[in-house]
Symmetry: C2
C-alpha cells in the first residue's frame, strides 16, 4: 500500500464544526483509502461521530481541546485566545511537528493565516505567504493567486507568486510547464502598475524552467481560462474573486426570475431540470472549495466557512493532492533557482533594490 | 419646447464608424426629440447616411475631417496623429468651445481620455479624472468608479471619486443622497489599503450633504447592489469590471451547454425561449453602454468600441441625461464645499499632507 497522507483537521472550524468536518473526512476517505486523519477539537462532539464510522475511526486519531477560534474573531483576538491551545493552532502545529503532512481548517481566514504564519514561518527566499484557489473557467480551471494573504506586491513578490502558483498548477493540472499571466489593465494609456510591468520584464528575461510566462492578462481572461495561473496582488485578487462570486449569484438570480415569467417557462424548466441540475453542479462553489496557503514551511488548506460535507471532502482532496505531490519541495526547488541564477541580473538587482527601498519607507 | 441638448459625435469612433454612429443617433432622437447633433468625421461616409433620414438630418450639422484615431493607437500615437485634427479631438473640442454640451465617442479609451484631459483639463479642485459606469445589479443598478482612468488613489482622490460618483447617481437614479461604499477586502487580518481606511474615516467625519457614506463594501456587494455608488481606484476597478464581464460570459456559456444536454433540455429551451430572450436582454452589455469621464471641464461619454446601433443610442441617452441634469455644475458645487468646509479638519489636513508627501516622492 502507498505511503499514507496524514491530514490534520481543525474539527471546530467553519459554521458547523465536527458535524460537517467528520463526515467530510469520511467521504474523502472513501475516495482515498490511504488517508490518515488527526482531529483536533471537542472530544464530546467528535468521538460519537467517529465511533459511528468504523473505517474512519480506524484511520483517525483524536486530540481533545476545549479552545476553538470564533468565526468572527479578529486575528489578534484569535491569537490571544487560541495560540498553542485552539483546535486551529494545534492542527497547524501538527504539520510543523511532522505529525501531519497538511492541515485543513474551515475557520476564519484571517486567524488561520495569522496562526499559520507564526507557527510555520515563511519559506526561505519567500517574503510573504499567499492564498491560491482553483478558479473554474470556460476551458476547465485555473489557479488564481494571491486572493488576500497580503496587500500590495513588488516585482519580487509577484515573481514568487508566479513560481508558487505554477508549482501548484503542475500538481493540479498534471502539466510540465503551466502558462502564467500577470493580471493587468488593458487601458493603453496607463498600462498598469510599475511593479506589474517590472515583474513582467523579469519573468520574460528569466525563462524559468518550471513555467511558461504568457505576459499580461485582463480580468475577463480569468473566466476564459487564457492561462493556467493568474498572478496578482492580494487586494485586487480578493476583489476579483468576490466580484466573480457576486456576478455568478446575480446571473443565477436572473435565471431563476426568468423561469417564473410564464407557464411555458415553467414547463420548460421542468423538462430541462436535469440540464439545470448539471449547470448548478458546475456553478457549485463547493466543487472549488479549498484555498491553499503558499509560501510557508508547511501546507495549510482553508476550507470555506459555510462548507458542507461535499465541500469539506473536496478541500481534503486538494490537501491530499498537494501533500502527495510534494508541493512544498516543488516550491523549495524553484525559489532558490531564481535567486541564485539571477542575483546578478541588472533587472533583478533593480527589483531587489526597489523592494529594499519600499520596505525601508 | 425644451432647450435642446447638443451632442458632439465622433462619427469615426468604434469598430464600425458612421454606419453605426449615425443610425444610433437617429434612434436616440426618436426618444429625445430635443437632441441636436454635431457629427465629426468623413463627409463621404456620413452625408449619405444623414440624407437618408430627414428628422436626423434636420437636427444635425456635419464637420468634415480626414483624420481619425485608430482603435489600436496608443494615446501618444493618437495625440501625435490626431491632436486638433481628428474626429475624436474635434468632438471633445466642441464641448470646450461650447458648441456642444457633451461629446460621445466609441474610439479607444486611452486616446479618448488623453485627448479629453489635454483639451478640457481637470476641474478646479480635482486632481485626476475618472471613468464611471452604470453596473447592473440584482436590485437595479449602481455606479462604479474609477474603471481605469488612473492607477492608484490616495484618500483625497477616493473622496473626489465619492463626490463625483454620487453626483452622477443623483442624476441617473433621481435620489437626493445616494449611498456610497468604498471597495475593500474582507479578510480581517489585513483590513485593506491604508488609503482606503483613511478615506473611510474622512468620509464618515465629513457627513457630506450630497451623499450617504455606508462604509466598506466587498467585491460581491457590487452585483448585490448594496450601495448606489461603489468607489475604488482605477486598477482594481478595471479588473473588477473585466472579471465580472468574464464571469457573465462564462455563465452564459455554461447555460448554452446545459441546453444541448438532451432532448428534454432542448424542448425545455424551446418552451422557455421567451424567458431566455428576456434574460438575454437583461444580460445585454449594450444596455449599460456608456462610460462617463468625470472630473474634467466638460462631459465626455465613452461608448463601447463594439457597440451597435442600440448601444450607441444608449450611450447618447446617458450623455443626454448628464447634460440635461447639469452633472458638471453638480460636481462643481460639491467639490469646493469639501475643501472649504473641511480644510481645517485634522483628518483632512492629514490627508492633504499625505497627498503632498506622495506627489513629492
Amino acid at each position: 500500500m502507498e505511503k499514507p497522507v496524514r491530514i490534520a483537521l481543525d474539527a471546530m472550524g467553519g459554521d458547523f464544526g465536527p458535524e460537517v468536518v467528520v463526515p467530510g473526512a469520511a467521504r474523502a476517505l472513501q475516495q482515498r483509502p490511504n488517508l490518515k486523519f488527526v482531529f483536533f477539537g471537542d472530544r464530546k462532539r467528535i468521538k460519537p461521530l467517529l465511533d459511528a464510522d468504523a473505517p474512519l475511526s480506524a484511520a483517525s486519531t483524536l486530540h481533545h481541546t476545549d479552545v476553538s477560534v470564533r468565526m468572527d474573531a479578529k486575528p489578534s483576538q484569535a491569537l490571544r485566545a487560541g495560540r498553542r491551545t485552539s483546535s486551529m493552532w494545534l492542527a497547524i502545529e501538527a504539520v510543523k511537528k511532522n505529525d501531519a503532512d497538511v492541515a485543513v481548517s474551515a475557520g476564519n481566514t484571517g486567524a488561520l493565516m495569522a496562526m499559520a504564519k507564526i507557527c510555520l514561518q515563511t519559506m526561505p527566499g519567500v517574503d510573504r505567504p499567499a492564498i491560491a484557489a482553483i478558479w473554474p473557467t470556460i476551458r476547465g480551471s485555473s489557479i488564481v493567486l494571491d486572493l488576500g494573504a497580503s496587500i500590495g506586491a513588488d516585482a519580487q513578490h509577484l515573481i514568487d507568486l508566479a513560481i508558487m502558483g505554477s508549482a501548484m498548477a503542475r500538481i493540479i493540472f498534471s502539466i510540465e510547464k503551466p502558462t502564467v499571466g500577470l493580471l493587468n489593465v488593458g487601458v493603453e494609456e496607463i498600462k498598469g502598475l510599475d511593479e506589474v510591468k517590472h515583474a513582467s520584464r523579469i519573468l520574460r528575461e528569466m525563462e524559468l524552467p518550471t513555467l511558461c510566462y504568457s505576459g499580461f492578462v485582463e480580468g475577463d481572461d480569468i473566466g476564459k481560462g487564457t492561462v493556467d495561473v493568474v498572478v496578482t496582488e492580494g487586494f485586487t485578487g480578493n476583489i476579483a474573486l468576490k466580484t466573480a462570486e457576486g456576478t455568478a449569484k446575480q446571473m443565477a438570480q436572473y435565471l431563476r426570475e426568468s423561469f417564473k415569467r410564464d407557464v411555458f417557462a415553467r414547463i420548460g424548466y421542468f423538462l430541462a431540470r436535469r440540464a439545470f441540475a448539471a449547470l448548478k453542479a458546475k456553478m457549485d462553489p463547493r466543487n472549488v472549495n479549498g484555498g491553499v496557503f503558499l509560501g510557508l514551511n508547511g501546507i495549510v488548506i482553508k476550507s470555506h466557512g459555510g462548507s458542507d460535507v461535499i465541500g469539506t471532502a473536496r478541500a481534503i482532496e486538494i490537501a491530499y493532492a498537494m501533500a502527495r505531490n510534494q508541493l512544498l519541495s516543488k516550491i523549495r526547488d524553484a525559489i532558490p533557482c531564481v535567486s541564485d541564477q539571477f542575483a546578478t541580473e541588472p533587472a533583478f538587482e533593480a527589483a531587489r533594490a526597489s523592494v529594499a527601498a519600499r520596505s525601508g519607507s
